[in-house]
């Protein structure tokens, strides 16, 4: 079965509001990355976490290996935050990043 379950698949936000994306893991992961796909289709690195939380501007991410989940919070959403976000994680002993299915975020005025 899928090892990385990402939700929601789509998220609509009004400017200035916030919400969270979540990835649940069916096995213990050792590190997680969050990406955003840019207009040219490239994956842009947002966060890399082996544990705990990190914050960058209006984005904040958390990773709990024991509880098997990671979150990406967007606060004070802006129009430019629209796009597709992916989580990806390494399981123990693996080099491969296992990707979630993505969340398409749409921010409207």
């Amino acid at each position: 079965g899928d090892q990385v379950e990402q939700s929601p698949s789509a998220l609509s936000l009004h400017e200035g509001t916030g919400s969270a994306l979540r990835c649940n893991f069916t096995t213990t992961m050792r590190a997680v990355q969050w990406f955003r796909k840019n207009s040219r289709g490239s994956l842009i690195n947002l966060f890399y976490l082996a544990s705990g939380t990190k914050e960058n501007g209006r984005l904040k991410s958390a990773f709990d290996s024991k509880e098997r989940y990671s979150t990406l919070h967007i606060r004070d959403a802006q129009l430019e935050d629209s796009g597709t976000y992916f989580c990806a994680a390494n399981y123990q002993g693996g080099r491969a990043l296992i990707f979630g299915t993505g969340t398409t975020v749409s921010v409207s005025p």
């Binding site: 490239s42 690195n45 491969a96 990043l97 296992i98 299915t101």
Partner: protein
């Protein structure tokens, strides 16, 4: 600069012909990876180079080859393309000897086999 470059961005190939895709990075990363991504599927790791050592995933072992003539450059080689090879090919790189280093991705090469 955390840029991974891939050439070409689009590649058209004929069934039965060889294909060579190129990736480069100037971050002095010791590990370079190749993933395959098909529509509506997550990227799937094909192989990676840690320094000069090539590691290929078991289920794609015979389908793909790779070379890494220097630290900055890595290629993905398909000896005889089949229709099933049509996909986006993503190159990534990371620094560190551990298995959980942050990976940086290139823009991908979209391969279409006809």
């Amino acid at each position: 600069d955390t840029t991974v470059k891939q050439n070409p961005r689009y590649k058209l190939a004929r069934v039965g012909k060889p294909v060579n895709l190129i990736c480069s990075q100037t971050m002095n990363h010791d590990t370079m990876y190749w993933y395959q991504k098909k529509p509506n599927q997550a990227p799937k790791l094909l192989l990676f180079y840690y320094d000069k050592i090539l590691n290929r995933e078991a289920d794609t072992f015979e389908k793909f080859q790779s070379s890494r003539p220097n630290n900055s450059f890595c290629s993905l080689y398909i000896g005889s393309a089949g229709l099933e090879y049509s996909a986006m090919y993503l190159c990534a790189s990371s620094r560190g000897t551990g298995g959980y280093a942050e990976q940086f991705f290139g823009p991908g090469t979209r391969l279409t086999v006809l």
